[in-house]
């Protein structure tokens, strides 16, 4: 298969970027999207050009490192997968594919398709944890947890922190990401204890970092590689508002 790639190239955070076109040829349909970029990059190196910088690591859809906006979709045209799980058989031979970095004020471009997602770390540092010390804990079975609660907590905990939600949201809102963490811990008795504090601290940090306001479009859940539901956003709203009303 052959493709024309329209890729965003940007030297560094300060430089102005632009699209550049590349041709890739004789790509097997079983090749993954990122392998296709590996092939392009190897060709570029041989030509003495700088390869296209893009984030990736585990290539199994779990580390959350890959982050490409492909033809208008975060993580490409398939539902419920990360960029590394896209295969070239999903594209038409001869197609032009546009590849852009995440676009969000809170995720500035570092180089080409690589952005800085440190803001997500900062939000979790503000309160995305349970304050227990190593070793000062009861037996794992001391508190039974209803299976349904554990499952719902796991649904939210599946978040890989890739940033697709904020990158997709027309408002640049990080609500799905924040909600996934708050909701996951809120469903467990261990996380419940400091639920109010957590919701307030994380929302405050999210606002401070310049993420936008959620308008419930649901675009985040549509593009989330782990299909995390906006029901978790509703729970975050509830957690936050109840916490504030108790103040």
């Amino acid at each position: 298969m052959n493709f024309t790639l329209k890729i965003w190239r940007q030297k560094d955070a300060k430089s102005k970027g632009a699209f550049k076109e590349y041709q890739v040829k004789d790509i097997s349909s079983d090749t993954s999207f990122l392998e296709m970029l590996d092939i392009l990059n190897n060709d570029l190196v041989h030509a003495g050009e700088e390869p296209v910088a893009f984030d990736h690591d585990c290539r199994e859809g779990i580390c959350g490192m890959c982050s490409l906006h492909i033809d208008g979709h975060a993580h490409g045209p398939s539902q419920a997968v990360t960029t590394c799980q896209i295969y070239m058989r999903q594209f038409k031979d001869g197609q032009t594919i546009t590849i852009e970095p995440w676009r969000s004020a809170a995720f500035p471009v570092i180089k080409d398709l690589v952005v800085n997602r440190g803001a997500y770390d900062e939000i979790l540092q503000a309160g995305g944890f349970v304050s227990v010390r190593t070793n000062s804990v009861p037996d794992g079975n001391a508190i039974p947890i209803p299976q349904a609660d554990a499952e719902e907590s796991m649904d939210a905990a599946a978040c890989v922190g890739c940033g697709a939600c904020a990158a997709t949201c027309k408002n640049g809102s990080a609500m799905l990401f924040v909600a996934a963490r708050v909701s996951s811990l809120a469903k467990l008795p261990q996380g419940r204890v400091e639920g109010a504090r957590r919701a307030k601290a994380m929302v405050a940090k999210m606002d401070e970092l310049g993420f936008g306001n959620c308008t419930n479009t649901g675009a985040c859940q549509a593009e989330c590689p782990k299909s995390i539901s906006i029901a978790h956003i509703a729970r975050l709203n509830r957690e936050f508002l109840c916490a504030k009303l108790e103040d």
């Binding site: 590996d38 190196v45 580390c63 944890f129 794992g140 905990a157 922190g161």
Partner: protein, 648 residues
């Protein structure tokens, strides 16, 4: 000068060793902890849990990772689960049984005391993770659920769907975030350690490169902890993440730390087969699939031919024409034999010509029986996400046709040599998790890597590091303005300059792929004296070629992925040779190390307990010099060295 290895294994009854040791080692008072700095390199299960626990204790911790967030470390990709001897299933599990299974699974090439400690603290890990809000699978009654795993006859594996590594890492990452929030830990993301700094024979800090700006930074500390994982990517194709590398560990080795059992590599039996020459990465399918999946190849070669040509579909092969070779060879464990055994058995069938895809390098993992027995819904619930992933990658629906699998490099049991305190041969330098060599011997059991990473980070290192730091309470802040730091930084800069100036004709990946082929063909699942000698020569030649002909584009002072890869490959090119040398030295077959010359008549590994009950510890002598071997004898006081038997 050979190493004087002191494993510092405490005396006494096996079950009392760790308690006795904890009682005997020194502690540092809270006021003094505040004055001590610790560097942790790597943020996987080991690094994150260690940094968080050390921060909680009051030390000043700096933690480094190469990814954009500590959460992305490759521990996250572990699917199946984590072992613990809770005996929640009432199936007669115990600390001793977990210890015994692990020692046996490792083919008696690990230290008894270390493994017992691992089994002992395994239960604490589960409690810790539950308290952190890790959503482990639960039964209807609200209690923790378990599943079975390879190499064990009890059900002791705790899991969170097929994402156990992710959930445990998020737990450790949350603990780390808590300490970053409290100000005791400072996180440096997109930073790569390029050298370790040694002064007066002790670890004093690291040289790191800021991967965004290219700046070379100096960081001093009273102790340095290496938690940078394994070096499986020396094979180019492996299930490791693309950026996983052996460079941090290799710098320690280069600066004088012993490197133990480098040849012990785990080849995981259930990976998706290679599809072509342009592949960059192999994908693992969880070992938990072997709980319900049955592994087979056709009995008749004509069926193999027909499947390869596509004239017959695998599902159409009659039951009596299928060779469930694991069940045939190992009746007691069947499809749940340890990984090394399962991998070798697959290779044996493929070598005999029964490989079921065009490359001849694949066997079937079939759920037909399980679906008939349990129903599609149950299988979907258990493995739905894995089945979807398989279909996504291969375009084959595993509910209708069996999966194709083949072994791939997955984990390295070898690593930096450490004593019972997890300290390397360099005082003040520690290694934890996959980066060290300590607990898995020659083969690691499934669901034990997570256990080791967290055991080291949460429950071992935070105590044992105090024993060393107690001697440092009078030491001032480590100055980075010393000749040792100057020299280390200069060497790093020169190496980078050199790589950028070669401007040859081959890309880093071109050479890495060639290294991978040499390794897989000669230092892979079956090793011979000839293949290993050949590998040593070829790798040395390739290394020379690399330093003459590699082409690294871009600049030193910018975000430069090619440069990062080149620096890592430079180390792999030495590490690969070391692995071959170690494999050549070990004239026996054990665990993941299979020497063709040393097998029984039935083709099983033939271990040599007369001559090789030791850890092979290598000392660096220079890039093109032969490293020096020191042996740490392993003494088995409590278990009887027996031939591994998974047949009955």
């Amino acid at each position: 000068m050979a190493f004087k290895l002191d494993s510092k294994i405490p005396a006494g009854e096996l079950s009392q060793k760790w308690s006795n040791h904890k009682a005997a080692i020194k502690v540092v008072s809270p006021a003094n902890k505040r004055k001590l700095d610790i560097i942790v390199v790597g943020t996987g299960l080991g690094g994150a849990s260690a940094a968080a626990s050390l921060g909680e204790l009051g030390y000043n911790v700096k933690v480094f990772c190469i990814q954009d967030s500590p959460r992305r470390a490759h521990s996250i990709a572990a699917q199946g689960g984590i072992n613990a001897a809770k005996n929640y299933q009432n199936d007669n599990d115990s600390v001793y049984r977990l210890f015994y299974d692990t020692i046996k699974g490792g083919d008696y090439r690990a230290r008894e005391a270390n493994v017992y400690r691992l089994a002992e603290v395994s239960n604490l890990i589960i409690d810790q993770c539950v308290a952190q809000g890790v959503p482990f699978a639960r039964e209807y009654g609200g209690l923790l659920a378990n599943r079975s795993f390879g190499g064990a006859q009890v059900s002791r594996t705790f899991y969170a769907r097929g994402q156990t590594g992710q959930q445990l890492l998020l737990g450790a990452y949350a603990a780390l975030n808590k300490e970053i929030h409290n100000g005791s830990v400072k996180s440096y993301t997109r930073h790569e350690m390029l050298d370790i700094v040694i002064e007066d024979g002790e670890a004093r800090g690291i040289i790191a490169r800021n991967l965004v700006t290219g700046e070379i930074e100096r960081h001093g500390a009273h102790a340095v902890v290496i938690a940078t994982g394994g070096y499986g990517n020396v094979f180019f194709l492996s299930t490791n993440a693309m950026a996983s590398n052996g460079s941090a560990a290799f710098q320690c080795y280069r600066k004088g730390a012993g490197f133990a059992n480098p040849c012990f590599t785990q080849i995981h039996p259930t990976c998706i087969p290679i599809h072509g020459t342009q592949q960059s990465k192999l994908t693992l399918m969880s070992e938990s699939l072997r709980n319900d999946g049955r592994i087979w190849v056709p009995k008749k070669l004509e069926d193999v031919e027909a499947i390869r040509k596509g004239t017959k579909m695998p599902a159409d092969i009659a039951e009596e024409d299928r060779d469930y070779y694991l069940e045939r060879r190992y009746p007691a464990f069947g499809n749940l034999v340890p990984r090394d055994v399962a991998s070798r058995a697959a290779k044996e069938r493929c070598d005999a010509g029964y490989g079921v895809n065009e490359t001849g390098l694949a066997v079937f993992l079939d759920f037909k029986t399980a679906i008939e027995r349990l129903g599609k819904e149950v299988i979907e619930k258990r493995y739905g996400n894995l089945f979807d992933m398989y279909k996504e990658i291969t375009d084959v629906n595993p509910y209708e046709q069996p999966m194709q699998i083949f072994p791939a490099v997955h984990y390295t049991m070898g690593g930096i040599w450490v004593d019972y305190n997890l300290m390397t041969t360099i005082p003040g330098l520690y290694a934890i998790g996959e980066a060290n060599f300590s607990d898995h011997g020659a083969n690691r059991l499934g669901a034990s890597a997570l256990m080791q990473g967290l055991a080291d980070g949460y429950f071992v290192l935070p105590y044992t590091i105090g024993d060393y730091l107690a001697k440092k309470i009078q030491a001032p802040k480590v100055s980075t303005n010393t000749p040792a730091f100057d020299e280390a930084e200069k060497a790093v800069r020169e190496k980078i300059e050199k790589l950028l100036s070669i401007n040859g004709t081959q890309s880093v990946d071109d050479i890495h792929k060639r290294l991978g082929h040499i390794m897989w063909d000669n230092v892979g699942m079956a090793r011979t004296k000839e293949s290993l000698e050949k590998a040593i020569v070829e790798i040395a030649a390739l290394r020379k070629e690399f330093w003459k002909d590699v082409k690294v584009v871009g600049t030193a002072d910018s975000f430069n992925v090619e440069l990062e890869k080149a620096l890592r490959l430079a180390d792999f090119l030495e590490l690969g040779e070391l692995m071959a040398r170690d494999a050549l030295n070990r004239e026996e077959s054990c665990g993941g190390h299979f020497r063709v010359e040393h097998q029984t008549e039935e083709g099983e590994a033939d271990r040599d307990d007369e001559n090789f009950v030791y850890a092979a510890v290598w000392e660096y002598k220079g890039m093109d010099e032969v490293p020096e071997l020191t042996k740490e004898p392993l003494s088995f006081e409590f278990v009887h060295l027996a031939k591994r038997n998974y047949k009955d």
